[in-house]
Symmetry: C2
Subunit: 462 residues, 2 copies
């Protein structure tokens, strides 16, 4: 039986889908330090106006420029696989499909938005883009995209990852980007932190602060900042994943899936696979849409829906989202991309409105699922992606118990070839299941108790 469907180049989607238009209630706006909604002009210091327009767009479908498609076509449409070997191993009546985003040159879904952001920046006269990276997937993707488009790229990489993952820096260097450890001496934010704590391992929040400062402090205005997740325009660019998957499921003879799964850190790969199907759900289809997060950073499953900062030191606006508090430092699990304290506002609101059913899974179950996936389907997934695999296996086992022929779709967001140290720790029996640090969360949330509240704020569930 055919284990894979590819689309022809000419069948690549020509428009992105904007879920914001179809959400039952309108998205609440980002707020400035004064509590008032952020204006496009305020964002113009760090983003080109075309991306700010997408961030606030009232249009359901947004055309993908030809120049972006030309680059995406180097690896897209990505394959949709039927997990025949995994199904057989599980003995499930479910049909499991996975979208393979690992075929991009940087190995994940991240370049879908990196290319788009680099393109719009170039068109607006930007010469250089700054960004931060934690585990390294995003920095690699932006370095790749900037090489494709012809832009300088500067990546602030969280120091502990910079030291532990020298190969990520080499990937970025191969694509011509400048990758330095954060905190660095190149920004005031970095210098201040180093003065206080010269041995700090750094954090994503700190790296964001440095990257934003590096962009706004270039007085020529030719340096802009780029974010790899969380924001609406990033979710938008990723919807090409689900739009392709929808066409490919039809070629497999399926109608709509019963279950759609993606791992969720900032929310972008999950949004990519799920938003086009969320539209079907809004229109009445029965679909379980499941963002999967680590038990040790349970933003959606335990956190409250609040206004919180996107970064550690307040360079970003307040965003309406589920959050564990912007000062939350999660345990050092291997899925570095899932350790973000917040969640994309679009994903947050869809969860808030009951369109999605978040799930938390422990690290050991995820690695066990990843090894089973490697030995059946053959692909070694990223530690982040293992959360989606584990949830798909849970659903397939449930279908077996219920004797139901469910159709399960998940996003295989990236390969794990640059993150084999996680597998090493797993094989060595060094990994544990981190308990949710309740007291620390309460302390972090106490720090944001005076922030404005969304009109539909909730409290957390711990």
């Amino acid at each position: 039986m055919n284990p894979k469907v590819v689309l022809k180049s000419e069948d690549i989607p020509k428009q992105w889908y904007n879920l914001a238009v179809d959400l039952p209630s309108p998205l609440q706006p980002p707020l400035g330090p004064d509590g008032n909604p952020v204006t496009p002009e305020m964002l113009a210091a760090i983003f080109p106006m075309s991306l700010i327009e997408q961030e606030m767009s009232p249009h359901r479908w947004i055309d993908i420029p030809e120049e972006i498609l030309d680059i995406l076509l180097k690896w897209r449409p990505s394959p949709l696989h039927r997990a025949l070997s995994l199904e057989k191993a599980l003995g499930t009546p479910a049909r499991i499909y996975y979208k393979n985003e690992s075929v991009s040159p940087p190995g994940s879904h991240k370049p879908n938005t990196a290319v788009a952001q680099a393109y719009y920046n170039k068109a607006a006269g930007t010469k250089k883009i700054t960004t931060e990276t934690g585990a390294g997937q995003w920095g690699s993707a932006l370095a790749f995209a900037c090489a494709q488009i012809g832009l300088e790229c500067k990546v602030f990489m969280v120091r502990i990852s910079f030291d532990q993952k020298p190969f990520r820096k080499l990937m970025m260097q191969s694509w011509g980007a400048d990758c330095i450890a954060s905190p660095s001496t190149e920004t005031k934010a970095g210098r201040d932190i180093l003065a206080q704590n010269p041995d700090t391992p750094g954090s994503l929040g700190i790296a964001i602060s440095e990257a934003v400062e590096a962009a706004v402090s270039d007085e020529s205005g030719e340096t802009k900042y780029s974010l790899g997740s969380v924001l609406n325009h990033v979710m938008l660019h990723q919807t090409i994943i689900g739009l392709e998957a929808k066409k490919q499921l039809k070629l497999f003879g399926e109608k709509l899936p019963d279950v759609v799964i993606g791992c969720a850190g900032g929310g972008s790969n999950f949004a990519g696979i799920s938003f086009p199907f969320t539209l079907d759900k809004i229109n009445g289809a029965q679909i379980d849409i499941i963002p999967v997060e680590p038990f040790s950073c349970p933003t959606l499953t335990k956190g409250p829906f609040v206004y919180d900062l996107g970064d550690f030191s307040g360079m970003t606006p307040l965003l309406p989202m589920y959050s564990l508090g912007h000062t939350f430092v999660p345990p050092p699990i291997h899925a570095g991309g899932l350790r973000y304290h917040g969640m994309a506002p679009l994903v947050s609101q869809a969860v808030h409105e009951g369109l999605m059913e978040p799930r938390a899974i422990h690290q050991l179950e995820c690695f066990e699922a990843a090894v089973q996936f490697a030995r059946t389907e053959g692909i070694i997934v990223a530690p982040e992606t293992s959360h989606a695999v584990a949830a798909a296996i849970q659903e397939a086992n449930k279908a077996k118990e219920e004797g139901k022929e469910k159709v399960i779709l998940f996003n295989m967001s990236g390969h794990g070839l640059m993150d084999l140290r996680g597998y090493q720790s797993y094989f060595a029996g060094e990994l544990g299941d981190y308990e949710f640090p309740k007291e620390e969360i309460e302390k972090n949330l106490a720090a944001i108790k005076d922030f404005p509240k969304p009109s539909t704020a909730t409290s957390g569930k711990w």
Copy 2:
């Protein structure tokens, strides 16, 4: 313009192509220690009979079993890309195409034969396969294939690579294989060498000796040995690359290429891309077919055509091939897969008969080409593959000088994400262009001067 053509699953080639049938002169047989041709029965101790039959097959086309296709279809047909960005950067009138074998789960062309070999072994009752690996590509591919087919897998990995590339071992472990450093204490060959030299870094020749011994010393007969290159059946399995490329070039509107290029260590990826086009050349087409090797291990460009051993310690038959002598230890360049002293007999004879024009390129030019390729086409290639990229750039520049619209096809045999240390050394300015060690070669060739000679033996060109 469309930068890539994929084929539908149903268009995957259903037969392999056997060049041996079409060579102008018959292939000279492998010889045993007594100088007589090796019989199928002698090979049966380490290979299943079905593979031995393929090794000696008189058939031009050999059916690919359905079960093998089902696994290959997980990533095949692999894409054929038009290198539009590279062409633009070079300002060449040439149209450059590359076959992307990096999309396989282990990241190279190697699983094309690993899956086939695992399949035929399983069908013959084999329970376990042993092999050796140098840089790690082959061991990873066989580990992957054995997991797909359901066989145990034991990999002897050259100690210096084992220590320098811990992630390769983790890949194999993720697929359930057992990977140990060679020389090991598990074989007599390994123990003997360790007794003489406890600190030896190991070599591919030693690892082959250990893997063969581990197979033949299992008295149950259920353990067999597998080789990832050199042998005729390995070349056969790789021809699916060129057969796909031929169909894809047609979809791009091309007839035959003017130039076909592949890097050549043992010869398998080069054979894969080139043999189907060699048939066209034998039938009268004008095609330059170029195996590319490192200047520091110039088997085809400097070595003689002789009978030589495939391994260090004489576990293999004598093979008719270009060789630098089986005791040759090449300089430690980063393209570990191109450091083999010999060359596949089928490639050797095709070169010998003037069907192919081998070329040697220095390491620095190869890395320079690889970086240009990464920054234009976006893919970071393996150090081995960089030799094919460098030759393609040479040909594209030649076409520019001549003002000719040539069609250049090369095999992008694997990605370099597991070999970024090579790029690190290159960026750090630590790499040199190794001179060909003439005296050492003469010494190594003196050691085989009493071996039987092929009827068409030549002397080397140094």
